[in-house]
């Protein structure tokens, strides 16, 4: 449990981000979520929990990230828990991949994570407390045809997260990475039933994960009892990436 802590979840309006925001809300956190396409609804959680604070923010904009932190700090307090979940895909084979497609995915998935972590760690350093979780992907280490940009960005999060874990460890700030496999979200829904079933047939557990199952791992990593875990990459992939 992470009761009373202030959490910021990027990409919190749907998918893994939303499930994580709701889980932290249920665990008693005061949760802000950044959204780009549509704010999460409803904002209310179970009785006794605080409503989610929706913050409009395109994480690729340094100004909007700064404004999102300012708003969260004013309304809820300094961010103690940061979950970087904002991410996009733009799949195609390398030979067909444009510079724009490459850059957009790296910018949103990796560079924006640098930006939000940098901003959050300033206050965490002073507080001598912090929990950062980056949402990577099984494909970061496994590879995935048609996803060179996405896989590179997600593998980048592992190196980034572990380096940051070392930088901040002396200040009671942990940085961990969660690597989900196939998860039932809007991001995988676009793949279509056939491709999705082909993907899940390769999963030892023979099914896709629900976003809540990924959120459970995040909730544990940001809890008090995970205080000795840092620089870890936790797979939540039904066994798909075993051995990596």
């Amino acid at each position: 449990m992470s009761e009373g802590r202030v959490a910021l979840v990027t990409g919190g309006s749907r998918g893994i981000g939303l499930a994580t925001a709701r889980r932290l809300q249920r665990d008693g956190c005061r949760v802000a979520v950044t959204w780009r396409s549509a704010p999460p609804a409803p904002l209310e959680g179970p009785a006794g929990s605080e409503p989610l604070l929706p913050v409009s923010c395109d994480v690729t904009s340094p100004e909007q990230v700064e404004a999102a932190f300012k708003e969260t700090e004013e309304r809820l307090g300094n961010v103690e828990i940061l979950v970087c979940s904002a991410g996009i895909t733009d799949d195609t084979l390398l030979l067909r991949m444009s510079e724009d497609s490459w850059s957009a995915v790296i910018e949103t998935n990796l560079t924006a994570t640098y930006r939000t972590c940098k901003r959050a760690s300033q206050k965490m350093l002073r507080a001598r407390y912090g929990r950062i979780v980056l949402i990577s992907s099984v494909v970061g280490l496994l590879g995935s045809a048609g996803q060179t940009n996405y896989a590179a960005s997600k593998a980048g999060l592992v190196g980034f997260g572990r380096s940051l874990a070392r930088e901040l460890a002396g200040r009671n700030i942990t940085v961990n990475v969660v690597a989900p496999g196939v998860v039932s979200t809007d991001m995988t829904a676009v793949l279509g039933a056939e491709r999705l079933s082909a993907l899940t047939s390769a999963v030892p557990l023979q099914r896709a994960a629900e976003p809540e199952e990924v959120a459970g791992a995040v909730a544990w990593l940001v809890s008090e009892e995970a205080g000795y875990v840092t620089g870890a990459v936790i797979p939540v992939d039904g066994g798909l990436g075993m051995g990596h």
């Binding site: 300033q122 350093l125 002073r126 930088e167 901040l168 002396g170 200040r171």
Partner: protein
């Protein structure tokens, strides 16, 4: 800068250093070295620089920090920007 201004600036500098480095004020002398006398690691030095940037409303470039190893050198860097 007059002597009085300089002393006032050093007092402000000292306040930042005491708060960030968590050391007694008397240890903040011009000759004190960050790594040796103050046992400050690289992250604490960066935190101090950020606190000084805020307190004095200045900007310090990464390259300017090279060779800055003592309180005196850091203070000189700050006052050169005022």
């Amino acid at each position: 800068m007059t002597r009085v201004d300089n002393e006032a600036a050093f007092e402000k500098f000292k306040e930042c250093a005491v708060e960030v480095l968590q050391v007694p004020a008397e240890k903040i002398t011009p000759a004190a070295s960050f790594a040796g006398d103050l046992e400050a690691d690289s992250l604490e030095v960066v935190e101090l620089v950020m606190a000084l940037e805020e307190a004095f409303d200045i900007t310090v470039e990464e390259s300017e920090l090279e060779g800055v190893e003592t309180i005196g050198q850091a203070f000189e860097l700050v006052t050169s920007k005022l």
